[in-house]
Each structure stands twice: as structure tokens, then as C-alpha cells.
Symmetry: D3
Subunit: 63 residues, 6 copies
């Protein structure tokens, strides 16, 4: 506890993945939760598979 699922567009750098895990964990550690208890699971989603406003995000970028 806690378990955090992060959904992001595909194509993140390894460095960003590392930072997201480290900093989200810190959010909970700052509230008194033990570091070892925090799990962060990152799901990378292709922009074609992420719709915003009824359109694929991959299309929005082309515009």
C-alpha cells in the first residue's frame, strides 16, 4: 500500500520513467508511508490508443 498505476503516452525516456517512479514514491513517503510499501506501475499506451475529445491523440499531433 499504496499501488499507483500511471498511464502515459508511449515513447517516454528511461530517465523520465526513473524520475516518475522516484518522485511519486516520495509523495507518499512525505506523508509517513514507508518507502518499501509503495508500488508504481507504468503503462505506456500508443497515441493511436489514447482518445481525447473523441479523436486519437496521434491525430491531434498531426494537426
Amino acid at each position: 500500500m499504496p499501488v499507483v498505476h500511471v498511464n502515459l503516452w508511449k515513447g517516454q525516456t528511461e530517465e523520465n520513467i526513473r524520475i516518475i517512479i522516484k518522485n511519486i514514491t516520495k509523495v507518499f513517503v512525505d506523508l509517513g508511508i514507508p518507502t518499501s510499501a509503495v508500488e508504481v506501475i507504468i503503462h505506456e499506451i500508443p497515441r493511436t490508443h489514447w482518445g481525447i475529445g473523441g479523436e486519437q491523440s496521434s491525430e491531434k499531433i498531426k494537426e
Copy 2:
């Protein structure tokens, strides 16, 4: 708001992905929610990783 996660078997056509995003968004727009507020995230799952009735879906298809 809302955030919709769709889990589907892997191997959808680009066209189907586009239609799913467009039409699920419309479900909420028809209820008065602004188009721009709707997010649809599609997770494609290999049939080997989707169990129905205790069996991999990939096995069911072979039968």
C-alpha cells in the same frame, strides 16, 4: 472526466480503434458532457493473456 479504459484482444484494426474512441466519446457527449473532457484509453491484450472460463482465449479459438 470521464476516463474510460477499454480492454480488448490484440489485433484490432486502426479503423476499429478510431471508431471505438469516437463512439464511446459520443455516449458521454449525448449525456451533456463536453467532448474535450472524455478520455478513452485502449489496452490491447494478447489472447494468450486473456482467460475466459479458465482457459486462454487463444486455446478457445483453436477448438
Copy 3:
């Protein structure tokens, strides 16, 4: 983008919920993502419904 689902034990203070939302959002803003694009959804789960090591967390606390 991104959409973050946080699963936590039930019984968080309003203040902690506020801080979690604010600080997880900041993790992404620090990576250059616009503040308005970040959604954080918090699911509070009763300890009876959260198993760790095969036991309900509610039992672990009694021990």
C-alpha cells in the same frame, strides 16, 4: 495525459487526499507536462479488501 490511478487504504484525511493530488501532479509538471493535462483518480479500498501476503490487511493490523 497522464491518467494516474492511486489505490490506498480507506480512511485517508481530506488533507492527505489534497496533498496526494497536488504533489503527484507536480511530478509530471516538473517533466514539462501542462498542469491541466494531469488527472489523478484516488480509489480508497477497505483494509478487509486489500490482501498482502495472503492475509487481509485488517488482520495484519490486529496482530
Copy 4:
């Protein structure tokens, strides 16, 4: 297949829940998927527990 998880603000009418289930199912039926195969699971989230732009949605409404 498919399994759809819908996350929405708490306080939906029974009628809206009914319509969301019916119409999301139709999106897949229109693509040739059998009606009986579609599962739609709706998670209602209190506005205090849904952050957009770093703030609780409940606060945004007060503004």
C-alpha cells in the same frame, strides 16, 4: 471480451448509468462483437478524490 472500466464522478442518476451501459455495449455490437460478450464496469469516484490540474474537482466547482 471486451471489458470496459468507466470512471465517473459520483452522483450519476440510475438512468444515466443504464444509458452508459447500453450505449457503450452498442459501440462494440456495431463492430460485430456479440452483445453477451461485452462487460461494462462503472466506478463512481467522489469529486474530492478526482484531481484535475493538481486540484480536487470538488474545489474547482466551488470556484
Copy 5:
């Protein structure tokens, strides 16, 4: 690792919740994963909020 999310109809007995956590954990322990590493999170969903075949499960039961 692993993290398991179970979605079930609301109204489970405490005993069933206990058994589900214990037995799902055992599935992974039997594969060589340490007991302490397994997390099982149970989400109870009202039957009104769970659609199968385009209808609320609560309606199916009435039939």
C-alpha cells in the same frame, strides 16, 4: 509483484473476501513467488454499475 485487482459484485461475505485473498495468493506462491510479494485488491461493484450484454446485472437478476 504481482498486483491483482479483483472486480466483483457488491455483497460478498467477509469469509469469501478472506478466501479469495488467501487462494489467489496461493496461485502465485505455487509458482515460486514469495507470499509477502503478492497484493490482492478487491473492488466491490454494485450490480447496477456492472453491465453484461448491454443491461445492468441488477436487471438480469429480476428477470
Copy 6:
């Protein structure tokens, strides 16, 4: 009903995937739920994308 999402590290054998689906389904069948009603969806997550204790699991293994 039920719908079970399993999150696991990437790199499972086909045989383990098969066993996980079969045995998690059995947990519910033993409680009186019909076999055909159980869906198990397995999400394999790269170790770089799974944080425990603020670090990528891929780093923990190197240590």
C-alpha cells in the same frame, strides 16, 4: 463476473500464464461461481516500468 486484472513482470512462460488463468478461475469456481463467468486479464509490465521502494525493479535485480 468476476473480472480479474493481474499485473506481473514481463517474461513469464506460456505455461505460467496458462496456470495462472486456470488456478485463479478455480478460486472463484470453488466459491460457487460458474466457470464461464470468470475473466482473467494478464498485463505484463517491463521491470523498468515497475517501481518498488522508489526504484525500478530492473535496478533492484542488478544489485
